[in-house]
């Protein structure tokens, strides 16, 4: 018995030692708190999927850590100067049509050795625009008239409307943002078979598509998964990990001999953040993704890790904001005068946003815009709205608020003779940092006499259309807090504000209702959930939509920010940051700017310094 116990303990110890693989085997174990739903090119676009797909695929182009657009599968980025971007104007000079010429690299191969050709691009678009398939978004592909093959490596994309983001990842053919072209030789047999069955049994279309397309082996990782990226898909143990091995035939070079760089990457899915942290400290995980450690304090984390790993703080491209319900149908907006910009200006000045940001999201910086700092269109000269409770109180007094009964809360008498107390409802998700935000906002606003009623609901409820888009029916009153993406150099980062703000320059107006305010008349479509309408802002936005020149467009967007900063339809709190850990010696695993979107933009450059990898990022 004793011998069995000793053997077992020895085995466990040896087995434990086997886990310390990382640098010794030139491998990398990355921890992530979320798992992709599938590996299908046409469906889904969650951040985790973007990371995973980044391992196995590359787009026609990609943003590097400096925020510079680089050619990926393509030989060069099409521009008017190199003759690859043709813009057709009407008599008034308005661009009405656009054609883009792409040439694929001669040495670009799929991970099974098949050459990547124009036929893949043509086929990808065919699937993308097949009406029977539940393609996640057709925002870009709806603009495309045709993808036309010139030869095996060259093709045109013809747009019937201007597409400002034609060169960005996901902005060309319009797949989800990880890459642009899918392997025809893998997907065509599946696609043809599915469509044949769907057209023979249209009443069972969704069941057929779900089972045979969404659930096909390449999508679920149970069959041949072929990609264009630096790593070849090896296996997906669902709810555990995804593993890939380095491709020697990948066309982009590492800074040194390829054997000096990571040869195998495993992304482990660890749902609980505390468990992920433990695994990082224990050395089981050598790097974290950009989502898993959200809300952690980088200084405390670095102290816990010591010299074992570095903590990197990078801009996320997302801004945390307070969105007001401005619909007059809701008594809250009318009674509390939320529609008057002075109320919103009072609220922004009543909050010490710097203190809030450092408490709930350490490393984050205060925002005054709908664009993230560092973006090409970012306006540096906006009113910073510093913490000034006296100024807030003065504005509220100007609006007729006072503490008439001495209970500590502001009140006023409405035009119809009712006495109302300034009691504001605030809703956010149950994320830890937002629960803490509610508590802090309560304290700041109480100081100026505003009573904040805090409610935290699951994200699936807060972001549901029935809840968020039905503000005109007062499903939420007062304030809802969430984060929105903000950047004009790249494709829109977040759908919630697509139609409202400047970075949604890809979107044609999708409803007849002005400003895309969700109302019963348009089936609650649109993402202007606040119901904010401003003619000056609208005109500027319309001008920006027509402007292809990035510098000129940036100037217009800067003017839009001035309007926004004065009107404050939302109160911007802070630019969120991403916290990433990477074990000592791991090089080039960095995102840099928000434009790169993720650390997974350059997996071919990842390596261990101790194995000879050269740090270039």
């Amino acid at each position: 018995m004793r011998r069995v116990v000793v053997l077992l303990l020895f085995g466990l110890a040896v087995s434990a030692a086997a886990c310390w693989a990382g640098p010794s085997l030139n491998n990398l174990n990355i921890g992530a708190t979320q798992e992709p739903s599938n590996l299908l090119p046409w469906e889904g676009a969650a951040d985790t999927k973007e990371n995973i797909m980044g391992l196995f695929n590359i787009g026609l182009t990609y943003f590097d850590s400096e925020g510079v657009l680089q050619p990926g599968l393509a030989t060069e980025i099409p521009t008017e100067q190199n003759g690859r971007l043709l813009l057709f104007r009407d008599a008034s000079g308005q661009i009405i049509r656009q054609e883009v010429l792409w040439t694929l690299r001669a040495n670009a191969y799929w991970s099974d050795g098949t050459p990547i050709t124009s036929d893949d691009a043509v086929f990808t678009f065919e699937v993308q625009n097949t009406p029977e398939l539940p393609v996640t978004t057709r925002a870009f592909s709806n603009m495309i008239e045709e993808v036309r093959k010139v030869d095996d490596k060259t093709f045109w994309i013809v747009y019937s409307v201007p597409n400002l983001f034609y060169a960005n990842v996901g902005g060309s053919i319009g797949l989800a943002r990880h890459y642009d072209i899918a392997p025809k030789h893998i997907w065509e047999p599946i696609y043809r078979q599915v469509m044949q069955q769907v057209r023979a049994n249209p009443e069972k279309a969704s069941e057929i598509v779900e089972a045979q397309f969404l659930g096909s082996p390449p999508a679920t990782g149970t069959g041949t998964v072929v990609g264009s990226g630096a790593f070849k898909f090896e296996e997906w143990q669902i709810n555990q990990f995804i593993r890939g091995s380095r491709r020697v035939d990948f066309f982009l070079d590492s800074p040194g001999p390829v054997q000096n760089y990571i040869q195998e990457v495993t992304v482990q899915f660890i749902v609980n953040q505390a468990t992920l942290l433990s695994a990082i400290i224990a050395g089981q995980i050598e790097a974290s993704d950009d989502i898993g450690l959200a809300g952690q304090d980088p200084a405390i984390l670095q102290a816990q890790l010591g010299n074992q790993a570095a903590v990197e703080v990078t801009p996320s491209g997302f801004i945390e904001k307070l969105n007001f319900n401005l619909f007059p149908e809701c008594n809250t907006a009318a009674d509390l005068l939320l529609g008057d910009k002075r109320t919103r200006q009072a609220i922004i000045q009543a909050i010490d946003r710097d203190d809030l940001a450092q408490t709930v999201f350490p490393g984050a910086t205060v925002s005054n815009s709908f664009l993230v700092a560092g973006d090409v269109g970012f306006n540096e000269e906006l009113n910073p709205w510093p913490y000034d409770p006296e100024a807030a109180e003065a504005l509220l007094t100007e609006l007729g608020w006072s503490d008439s009964d001495g209970d500590g809360w502001l009140d006023r008498v409405t035009e119809d003779g009712r006495k109302v107390t300034f009691s504001l409802h605030w809703v956010a998700t149950t994320a830890g940092f937002r629960i803490r935000t509610g508590e802090i906002l309560q304290e700041f606003l109480a100081d100026v006499g505003i009573k904040l009623e805090v409610e935290n609901l699951p994200g699936s409820v807060v972001f549901s259309t029935e809840y968020l888009n039905h503000g005109s029916e007062c499903t939420w009153r007062g304030i809802v807090e969430y984060a929105e993406g903000g950047g004009i150099a790249q494709a829109p980062a977040d759908p919630l504000s697509n139609e409202l703000y400047a970075f949604d320059l890809t979107q044609p107006v999708v409803s007849e209702v002005a400003d895309n305010v969700p109302l019963p008349a348009n089936g609650f479509a649109g993402t202007n959930i606040m119901g904010w309408i401003n003619e000056t802002f609208d005109q500027l936005r319309a001008d920006a939509l027509k402007e292809f020149d990035l510098e000129k467009r940036s100037e217009i967007v800067k003017q839009m920010q001035v309007v926004y900063n004065e009107e404050l339809p939302t109160v911007p709190l802070y630019d969120r940051v991403e916290i990433v850990t990477k074990a000592t010696g791991l090089v080039n695993y960095t995102k840099g700017t928000a434009a790169a979107r993720t650390q997974f933009w350059n997996p071919w450059e990842w390596g261990w310094e101790q194995n000879g990898a050269i740090a270039i990022r």
């Binding site: 693989a21 889904g44 989800a176 089972a211 495993t266 482990q268 433990s278």
Partner: protein, 323 residues
């Protein structure tokens, strides 16, 4: 007995129907659907995309219509696809989740039963001894400490302080192959979650077994047996334990389906991909089909194990008859 069993089995069908209707209705009442989840993570997702996908998946229909459609497919064994993982919901649950839960729960249950019965018996036989006090202290600790906290502490000690002696979580180490290494690796991953999960049951059942044994050894027939000169070992194991263990059968029987439903806290803390976390995640992200197949299956297990516990009781206690 047979008539009783058949009658109970027939009751299962309408019960399951009502349960599934209530579950589906409750899930449908929750704001949000899978398309909202797509919208959340997707740049450029337009209203046209939203409307098109809702229509494609039939989510634009009233929930009662959707329920009948779901039921029609479910009775044929098709519970629809998982929106989260793009594969059949039933396959996802029974291939990827249920076996993990059975492994974790089974080992935990076994550990709890194997340790709690002798511990409870010894504690009762040596009442007020050092052994009894020690067992009692451990029981109170086990009952009092929240599982999630115990789990985090176990991880802190064995994974962080001892630098990965035992894994912080997960089911297996990527890349480990071969029968013996895989067995050891799985064992390493099981130790901490089993210790956390079984702690509460171990404590409760030990207390229960102790009380039950104390009650039985004071009964007249035990005194009589001793007076007749029956050996102490025979008195305890043959007469006392036989009766003292009867309530444990019911207790364990009723706990079995709960174990199959997964232990959400343990699974979350130890990153163990089991049923509990699957149900929780599915409800959070509106993956209705996964939630439904899991919850209906658990309902079926509860009904089945209730019946089995009743039957086991009849087998163990001849005074109980169902005719």
């Amino acid at each position: 007995m047979l008539t009783y069993v058949i009658r109970r089995l027939f009751q299962v069908i309408p019960t399951l129907f009502v349960i599934s209707l209530i579950l589906y209705g409750l899930l449908a009442l929750k704001p949000g659907d899978p398309i909202d989840e797509m919208r959340r993570g997707n740049p450029g997702f337009t209203q046209e995309d939203y409307d098109r996908l809702r229509e494609f998946y039939g989510l634009d229909k009233p929930w009662v219509v959707r329920y009948w459609r779901w039921l029609g497919r479910a009775v044929q064994g098709d519970f629809g696809p998982s929106r989260q993982f793009g594969r059949p919901a039933a396959q996802y649950i029974f291939r990827y989740r249920f076996p993990n839960t059975v492994l974790l729960s089974g080992v935990s249950l076994l550990a709890a039963v194997i340790i709690s019965i002798p511990a409870g018996v010894l504690s009762a036989l040596y009442q007020h001894s050092l052994l009894d006090y020690t067992v009692t202290v451990f029981n109170f600790v086990g009952v009092s400490i929240p599982i999630f906290w115990l789990g985090i502490m176990l991880i802190y000690v064995f994974a962080v302080l001892f630098r990965g002696f035992l894994p912080a979580g997960g089911l297996a180490t990527p890349g480990v192959t071969g029968t013996w290494p895989v067995f050891l690796d799985r064992l390493r991953h099981l130790i901490l979650p089993v210790a956390a999960l079984s702690s509460l049951q171990l404590a409760q059942w030990t207390r229960f077994m102790r009380s039950s044994m104390l009650e039985v050894i004071q009964l007249d027939y035990i005194v009589t047996a001793r007076a007749k000169g029956v050996s102490e070992r025979r008195v305890i194991f043959r007469h006392a334990l036989h009766n003292a263990i009867l309530p444990m059968i019911t207790l364990v029987g009723l706990n079995v389906p709960l174990l199959f439903s997964g232990a959400i806290l343990t699974e979350t803390v130890f990153n163990w991909p089991g049923m509990g976390r699957a149900i929780f995640d599915a409800i959070l992200v509106n993956d209705f089909n996964v939630a439904m197949v899991s919850l209906v299956f658990i309902s079926l297990l509860v009904l089945t194990f209730n019946l089995l516990a009743d039957l086991a009781y009849a087998v163990a206690d001849p005074r109980i008859r169902y005719d």
